[in-house]
């Protein structure tokens, strides 16, 4: 059996899964120290099961995203970019918001080196220049270092060479190389490496605390953490790549909806207190956004699900005539300010109760509402969701819609955009289920020239790197399969210059061994 835990800003949810069956589930408020909430959730779901039956614990957490957004727990970082003479005058962090650049300390170093798109050296590396930068970093006592280099996704050697020199001079340095973090796009990849490096110390504390909580409950099974593409990282991997957890919440919700309904291609609408988050399942995984994603005001190119947030939730504020709803919301104060709860703010929750579609709170408090307002309000709810779903649909064909989240009750009628409407049982803990069922993935991307390396060989090469990464992250080599191959031709360049990205997925090695025994 597996346990999935989702640590959100408001709630900590947990489920115990036996195969596909939800054996136990719980939803509780997230505690200020996070850990108490996790421990309580664990206690609830394992109360009736022997500890030895638990094979793995999977945790999805927003702690690292929140640390960046709130500028907490961030360590100072030295940024070394290998790329001069290109980019002179544009040092790392040049376009960052001041508060987060200050939090990391603005320690930027630029040295010669890197590659051109075709592998030709951009400039020869100068060991003295690199050593001078490292000496300065050491003299400042900086322990976290992010290393980036021009075209490092195609040639990682310059980053590795600098990392080796840093490690030799500062043995306890924690280093993030940009080629391990992301795709082409130097500044975005470098930003990802910087954010990751600044979270490394915090990641150690978080992972140790998770392990401690699990061990304290007598569980000896492995622990995994969800990453933003719906796959898992083992504990060691999280200590190295905490930033890969960004945006894992919406991903887990989509994956959970997939598991709960068995649908691999559908629209998932997660209705909360303030927003409805609409995502798209394609082949069982979230459709990824292909635009630059800002995390706490910093541009990154992380793999993020394509999510559209609509200002409609259970606590949204409804205009007096019912024709406008949100985006302002009473949020978690719904339980005191909503009319059915004794307050005087009209919310979608009140509209649904007044329409006789749900029984929440005290319906008698709504006797003063006009039937026209209730009808108009309920129509507005459906119209807003219909419009948004229509925008996210991959094509004109009718598409199944899965409703999850505590606010799913707001949908009382049909949605025109939906071929069929699913309201799975346990939809309230879809995130935790999504965490529990995840597999382990690996991804690699390269800019290749099909005129020098034939297409099949090029894809094979990129695939081999993705598989290597999946195995490093804890995947069972025998179960790894290709999830996605993406080829993008590069305009204004010679024919055959193509960006190839391969994503592979496999079962958890630790569990596979157990099943084999």
């Amino acid at each position: 059996m597996r346990i999935g835990i989702d640590v959100g800003g408001t709630h900590t949810d947990a489920v115990l899964l036996d195969g596909s069956d939800v054996v136990a589930s719980t939803k509780a408020l997230t505690s200020a120290d996070v850990l108490t909430g996790i421990t309580n959730a664990l206690d609830t779901v394992i109360a009736d099961v022997p500890q030895a039956d638990i094979e793995a614990v999977m945790i999805g957490t927003t702690q690292f995203t929140n640390a960046v957004v709130e500028r907490r727990e961030l360590s100072p970082v030295a940024a070394i970019r290998v790329g001069l003479p290109s980019g002179t005058g544009l040092p790392p962090m040049v376009d960052w918001p001041d508060d987060i650049a200050d939090a990391l300390g603005r320690h930027s170093y630029m040295v010669k080196g890197g590659s051109l798109y075709d592998g030709w050296p951009l400039a020869s590396m100068d060991d003295d220049q690199i050593d001078a930068a490292i000496a300065d970093i050491a003299s400042k006592g900086l322990k976290n270092v992010a290393v980036s280099a021009v075209f490092s996704p195609m040639n990682a050697a310059p980053e590795r060479a600098v990392a080796d020199r840093v490690r030799a001079a500062i043995p306890d340095a924690r280093i993030t190389c940009s080629h391990t973090m992301g795709r082409l796009g130097l500044m975005e990849r470098e930003n990802a490496a910087l954010l990751n490096a600044s979270l490394l110390a915090f990641a150690d504390r978080v992972v140790s605390a998770f392990m401690e909580a699990i061990r304290a409950r007598g569980l000896t099974c492995p622990m995994y953490v969800s990453q933003n593409d719906g796959t898992l990282m083992n504990a060691d991997f999280v200590r190295q790549f905490p930033a890969l957890t960004f945006s894992s919440g919406p991903t887990n919700s989509l994956r959970g909806a997939c598991k709960l309904t068995g649908l691999t291609d559908a629209i998932v609408v997660d209705i909360g207190g303030t927003t409805s988050d609409i995502g798209v399942l394609e082949g069982g995984f979230p459709r990824e956004s292909n635009v630059v994603i800002s995390v706490g005001g910093v541009r990154t190119n992380f793999r993020m699900p394509d999510i559209m947030a609509v200002g409609l939730g259970g606590g949204s504020i409804v205009a007096a005539d019912g024709k406008t709803i949100g985006p302002r919301s009473v949020g978690h104060r719904l339980v005191t300010e909503g009319m059915v709860f004794g307050g005087d703010t009209l919310t979608p929750t009140d509209l649904v109760v007044a329409g006789g579609h749900a029984e929440i709170g005290d319906k008698s408090r709504l006797s003063g509402l006009s039937a026209d307002v209730v009808a108009a309000g309920n129509a507005t709810i459906h119209q807003m969701l219909d419009d948004a779903i229509d925008m996210m649909k991959p094509n004109a064909d009718p598409v199944p819609v899965i409703l999850v989240g505590g606010g799913a009750v707001l949908v009382s009628g049909d949605l025109k955009a939906a071929s069929v409407l699913h309201r799975p049982e346990n939809a309230g803990v879809a995130n935790a289920i999504g965490a529990a069922i995840a597999q382990i993935g690996g991804e690699s991307e390269r800019l290749v020239s099909y005129s020098t390396l034939p297409r099949d060989a090029a894809i094979e090469k990129v695939k081999a790197e993705a598989i290597e990464r999946a195995i490093d992250a804890g995947a069972d080599p025998g179960t790894i399969r290709v999830a996605d191959i993406e080829e993008t031709a590069i305009p204004y360049m010679d024919e055959g210059n193509t960006r190839v990205r391969v994503k592979v997925i496999g079962d958890i090695a630790a569990l596979a061994k157990k099943e084999a025994n």
């Binding site: 790329g83 003479p85 290109s86 798109y117 075209f151 031709a489 360049m493 055959g496």
Partner: protein, 363 residues
Amino acid sequence: MQVRAEDLSDLSLGAVFLATGGGGDPYVPEMICREALKKHGPVDLVAPDDLPDDAYVVSIGGVGAPTVSLEMLPSVDEATRTLEAFEAHVGRKIDAVVSFEIGGGNSLIPIMAAAGRGVPVVDGDGMGRALPEAQMMTYAIAGVCPSPAVAYDYAGNVTTFTTPDTPTYERHIRSLAMASGGMITTAEHPMTGAELKPAIIPGTVGFSVTLGRALRENRGRADQLLPVLKDVFASSVYGECRLLYCGKVSDKATRIIGGYDIGEATLTPFSDEGDALTINIKNEYLVARLNGRVVATVPDLIVIVDYETGTPINAERLRYGQRVAVFAVGCPDFFRTERALEAVAPAAFGFDIPYVPLEQIEV
């Protein structure tokens, strides 16, 4: 009139609209330009008519694959160094710089060069939009010789050109760009003030700021944006502006042929009932056909924007499922002469259809 750091986001948004799907992502050029203006202060814009006839002006911009600049960043002073290399090559000072292409990131390169060199920028450009080849520039069409010209790369390598005709020059700079990491900056098509005045699309730098501001202040659904855009274009060198279509991208297939992103996009109505719009792409959006009937062609501008926000969408980023609107804008009169149409009509891009000015096509 001046270009200040605070004008850059509007200028760049307007320039992306005028890029008609080409021109690359303006993020990096805009950031560099902002750094240059912060360092050197605002740049003076001079109207072509205010240039002395004997002024010496050179056009400047980037050549190659803008995608490469997202990985191998340009240097803040690269454009200025290019100008200095040009001056060293010709042995005289220049009085002003001018853009060769207002569409996309190339609108900003003359501004950074001028900031670093302390010279004004001419308000105007050689395309009034984005176009894929140097011989499609108004300067070349008007008979300006491409050389003396210099190219400057990431490492400070300088290459000089002595080439009498623009198509040959174009072929040479493309090869050099590939050998120099994919992107170079060139100073080329030098002109006197007297030569420049009849050879330029005037006012496009200032107009980009106006257009970008209008798009920002009226951010919203394309049908609500239309009256605003009609007003903005009516009082410019462009003229007519039409909303051709609103719908979803139901197909997009492009592939790289000879260094260009060539292909077609198909749009269908939101309701799925009604005529489809197809758009031919060669880096830029070139021909629009409604159910097979031609409704706009190059050199008139075809622009695809996000339906909800009016934000222009680059051809590289156009993808299946996006909800978009398509605008068409009449090109400046310069391109409607017989001589100009030889270089920029649909036939110049391999389409066997005549050019009919937008205003003469029935809605």
